[in-house]
Structure formats: structure tokens, C-alpha cells
Symmetry: C2
Subunit: 366 residues, 2 copies
């Protein structure tokens, strides 16, 4: 158990944006929402998953919809109380703690705001260890947990609670209401008890985000290594490419951002070319036609100077970036995990090979 205040939020937002793997929304917006709530209502208590009683009701809090819309529409602040009341009434039970469901610039932050406003603790865990585009892509799904009862509310006070036969149906119905509510809403879903949490959650991901954020912030505070070496060491990242963005193809289909980033090598990668495909989050990274990483491993694009993560929204012509691979949570590498979030699910015609093996066996030696 420890407290999260303003300095911790700065680092968590930065680190979570890296774990967002290109998605997860703008950490600046997320950070403002969390900081506003903490300034107004006080610090948040972070609980280790092992501190949670087995029968405690744990409720993930997130936003659904387009993070860019959240930036314009904002949150009202009363959403979390509304969600609490709906879920608590549904279960006939008090909620023990909130938690994030995914790592990312926005969804790592909203549960902090929710906990601050309601005086509830937050669990140091999430259900992805990164960001993914679809609602059912959660480790709890592997554990047979349903997304519903899913509670949804907008900043105006409209709310709904869903109970669906599959998580795909939850996605379908909740997405329709999200659109009608203007494209961004607050939700709670995948409610779990403490025992399930301990078995299936990605533990200590908030602490990991914070450490990653701290590492990026201090990336130049080292005399023995270059900032890049320092960054790769502290993030346990695999350098996949460095280059200048020369083209970005974007397509919005079914409320997702699909696209492809084309890079021209710089420095030690001069003369080589790379491309990164994405569906909200980065899906594959290829150098000179050779795949170096695929989902569910994390493909992160960071600025070559500041090492600050660049989300797919912020990808622009001319920007100089490094493409970095991070190993995903081990449960995603099981067969059940790969069925949910492996390259095949996203229509990439390749088997999943762990990032570290792809890099080791690669002909791209720099």
C-alpha cells in the first residue's frame, strides 16, 4: 500500500503512454483529469493485488470511444459516482476498489481520478499490461470472466447497464450507445472478485508504468551510457529501427483507426526502410520486408531525442523516431492469449514468434 500524488501521476502517465504501444490516448489529457481530481480530493491509495480479500468486488474503470473526442468533450466528474452506484446496486455489494483495465495515456489515468473523487483505493494491476483496441482483449476473458454487467455513463448523466451473451455483443451494443452519446463515455466492465484478480490480472502494472515514466524522465541523467542505451536498458526494450517518418496512411473503419507508418532509416539504419501497421495500437513492425515484432508484443514508437512515446494520432511526416519492442505479459503468449490478440486475430498472415526470438534470428544487424 502506498500513496499516489501529483509526481507519481506525472511518471505513471508517461510510462503508461509507452505501454499504450501507440494507442491508449493522449497522456496529457489523461494526466490533467487525474491531477485535477487529486488536487481537489486528495491522494489515492494504491493497493498491491495481494492485499485484496478474495471476495472483494473490484471494478475496472475506463473510457470507451475515441480519446480525441474525450479531449474536446471532457469528463464531468460525476461519472464515477454514477458508475459506482449502478455496479454496487447490481451486485448488492459495496465496491472494494477500482482498477485500470488497460495501460495507456488515458485509461491509466481515469481510475486515479475516479478513486480520488470517491475516496476509494486503486489496485496496482490491469487486464492487459498494454492497450488493445477491442473490449474483449483482456486477460480476464482467458479466465472466463464476462465483460458484463457493464455500466456506462456520459458526462450529461445518461446511463445504461448491459448484460450480454458474449463479450462481442457487449462491444457491439456499448459501441452503439457510445456513438449516440457523442463518441466518448465512462464505463466499468469486467468486474472481478479478489481471487480472480490475483489469478488473471497483470499485476503491479501501475508501478511498472511509474518506473518506465521515471526512466524516460531521467533518461539523460547518466554519464556512463548514452540516453538511448539508458532508455533501452531501463525499459528492457529491443531496438527495432530508427528512422524518419516519410509517409502515414490512415483509415477510419468501424470506429477504429487503421494505418501504416513508413520510415526511412537514419544513423546506423541508413539505407534501410521500415513500416509499422496499426489498429489503434501498433500491430506489426517490419524492416526491409522482415517482420521483427508482432502483436501481442508491444511495438512502441518514441522520439529519438526525448524518448517520449508517440501515439499513432501524433505520427507526422518528418518526425525522427525509434521503434522499440517490449515483451508482452506472459499470458498473452499462451494459446488462449494468442487466439484473443495474436497476429491472426488482426488479419496478419504470420504465426506469432516472440519478439526476442525474432530479433535474435534477424538478418537486420545494427
Amino acid at each position: 500500500m502506498r500513496k499516489i500524488g501529483l509526481p507519481e501521476i506525472e511518471d505513471i502517465a508517461l510510462g503508461a503512454a509507452l505501454l499504450g504501444a501507440g494507442g491508449g490516448g493522449d497522456p496529457y489529457i489523461g494526466k490533467l483529469i487525474a491531477m485535477g481530481a487529486v488536487q481537489e480530493c486528495g491522494e489515492v491509495t494504491l493497493l498491491d493485488p495481494e492485499e485484496i480479500p478474495d471476495d472483494a468486488l473490484i471494478v475496472p474503470i475506463a473510457m470507451m470511444g475515441a480519446p480525441t473526442i474525450l479531449g474536446e468533450k471532457g469528463v464531468g466528474g460525476n461519472e464515477y459516482k454514477t458508475l459506482y452506484d449502478m455496479v454496487s446496486k447490481f451486485y448488492g455489494k459495496e465496491i472494494y476498489a477500482f482498477m485500470p483495465i488497460e495501460a495507456g495515456g488515458v485509461n491509466s489515468m481515469l481510475p486515479i481520478a475516479a478513486c480520488a473523487r470517491l475516496g476509494l483505493p486503486m489496485v496496482d494491476a490491469d487486464g492487459m499490461g498494454r492497450a488493445f483496441p477491442e473490449l474483449q482483449m483482456v486477460t480476464f476473458t482467458i479466465g472466463g470472466v464476462k465483460a458484463t454487467p457493464m455500466a456506462l455513463t456520459d458526462e450529461k448523466g445518461n446511463c445504461a447497464i448491459f448484460n450480454t451473451i458474449t463479450n462481442k455483443w457487449t462491444e457491439e451494443l456499448a459501441r452503439a450507445v457510445t456513438m449516440s452519446c457523442g463518441g466518448s463515455v465512462s464505463v466499468s466492465l469486467f468486474c472481478v472478485d479478489g481471487a480472480t484478480l490475483k489469478k488473471y490480472a497483470v499485476k503491479n502494472i501501475v508501478t511498472r508504468s511509474q518506473k518506465l515514466g521515471e526512466a524516460i524522465r531521467k533518461v539523460k541523467d547518466c554519464n556512463e551510457e548514452t540516453p538511448e542505451q539508458n532508455f533501452l536498458k531501463s525499459t528492457e526494450g529491443f531496438k527495432l529501427f530508427k528512422g524518419k517518418i516519410v509517409d502515414v496512411l490512415r483509415e477510419t473503419k468501424g470506429a477504429f483507426n487503421f494505418g501504416n507508418v513508413v520510415l526511412e532509416g537514419i544513423g546506423e539504419y541508413k539505407g534501410k526502410n521500415a513500416s509499422v501497421t496499426f489498429q489503434n495500437e501498433n500491430l506489426t513492425a517490419e524492416v526491409d520486408g522482415e517482420l521483427l515484432a508482432t502483436t501481442p508484443d508491444l511495438i512502441c514508437i518514441v522520439d529519438t531525442e526525448t524518448f517520449i512515446p508517440v501515439t499513432t494520432d501524433a505520427i507526422k511526416y518528418g518526425k525522427r523516431v525509434m521503434v522499440v519492442g517490449l515483451k508482452c505479459f506472459e499470458m498473452w503468449r499462451t494459446q488462449a492469449g494468442l487466439e484473443l490478440v495474436g497476429p491472426g486475430y488482426f488479419g496478419c498472415d504470420t504465426d506469432y514468434i516472440p519478439l526476442e526470438q525474432r530479433v535474435k534470428g534477424s538478418s537486420i544487424n545494427v
Copy 2:
């Protein structure tokens, strides 16, 4: 208190189709659903509104979406139990009785099926006394009752419960989910207590439907009068026109059927022309350019031979029909009523003048 069995359902379906005023769906489909449930589970007890305790929880049951889709998709039979459970849990209270919310071929029938399947009584009342196209067009709205909590379920078992800031938002969100569920769902909305029911409901409308149905069925069982005289007398209808349908314009906009029926006079109306506009239900009836009836009065189109009501879906070139006006429920004629369902709301550029006055002052004398 009395029982409703198969013969009563036949007549109620027929009479309710007349009160549907062109909308309300196909009474054949509705009848089959109600009869199937009664054959399987037994007759339904019909309660007079005055028999209901003031604090009893009364829940209207209806379908939302396109009645034509209901004909293809059907209902599963478990929807009513699901709705019961959701609403009962929401209020923390048993449901005393179901009721219909509108008169019409389908929505007069589904509450009978629901009551039969759950062994609940049905109240002899509804919230319109006819059919209307939008969710908030209910006498309970005049009484300040909200549509929500609104429970919704599809035949597959997906369900949601809405709580919205206005009835317009209920319409918006529930409509979006209805579309995602395939275009037709079962709902409960405008839950009321017994006291509110007695104050605002359209009382004894089930009995009235049954009497109208009986009158149509027996329209030729009279020696002193022609069937037409008999029909007009027993329905208290105003004959507005008789003609052959020579054109039908249809447009589907925002999940509503808009349109205009053009008629060429026959018999005593030879040489005259008429038109009836509709938005799901018939909105206005005009003869030789003179308005003879507008919403909220009921404009019904019936076959000239059988006097069976013709819904807007079934309007076809060449059909010979009579256009009949029926007075609407008195609460619709108040200012509050006309704001909700008067000609102005539907974009018709005319003041509301009661049907009987329009007909009396008309130059169309036949």
C-alpha cells in the same frame, strides 16, 4: 377482473389494429404470439385500473423497432422473464401487473403473451389509446413520468437497462441498441405506480379494442343498417372519404416510415380526391385540399368490404378503402397533449381542430 382467452385475443387484435391508426404493426403476427403463449400457459387475468393498489408497481411491455422485422425474427419467449427480473431488481420490488403502452396490432398483444408466460395479471389500460411513432408520446409524459428505467432485451438474451436525463435521450440510446440487436427488441418502460396509472392512463382500452374487434367481426350481422352504417355507429367513427388508392409515396428516414397515400373517390365521393400522410401512423387526412382530420385524432383506413383496418405497410395501389376518423383520448386535446403529439410537433402547418368540428364545418358534404 375477467379472463382473456383465445376468442378475446382475436377481437382485441382486430380492434387494436383499428386504434393503431395505420401503425402499430401487423395484428396477425401479434395475435399469433399472444395465442401461442395463452395456449401454452393458460388464460390471462385482466384487471380494471380501479382494482390496482396505489403503491403497486405496474410495468408496460412493448416491442421497439420495426414490426416488419418482428415478423421475421420473432420473439423467443424468455424476454418477459428477463424484463421482469431486471425491472424488479431495479426497484427492489415485485411487479404487480404488466400493461400495454400503446394500442396496435403488435403492442396490444405482446403484454398478453408476457402475462400468460409469467402468470401475471394485465391492466385494462395503456398510455396512448392509439399508436404513436415516438417513445415519449405517452400520457404518462404529461404526468411527468420518465420513460426510464427502461429495460431492453433481444431474443438472444442480450439485455440493457437505461436511465436517461430526458425521454428524448431514452429514444436515442434505446434506438441505437435496437438497431444493433437487429431491429426489433422487447422493452419495458414508463413504469408507474397504481396511483399514477389511475390518474394518467387511458383506461379500459383493452376492453374497447375487444368491442371494436367484435363490431368489425359482426359488421354484416344486421338487417336494418348497411354494414358501413353499422361500422360507423359501433366505432363512433366519422366517415372522411371512400376511394381507390392510386399512389403511395414512401420514405424511410431515421427508422420511421414516412409517406403519403393518394386516393381517387368512389361511390358518393366520385370526382373527389384525398390524401393521407403518415409517419408510421396516419397524421393528416385531406379531401380536395381541405383538412378533415389531424393527429392526435385517429385517422384509420379500412377495407370497404370487410372493414378490416389497413396498416400503412399494407397500403397498395388499387385497394378500395374508407378513411375514418375517431376521436382521440381527451388528454391529448389539452395543451400539454398537443405539444407532445399535435400537428405542430409533426411539422404539419396547421392548428389542431377537433375532428368533429372539422367534419361539421366542412364543405365536403356527402
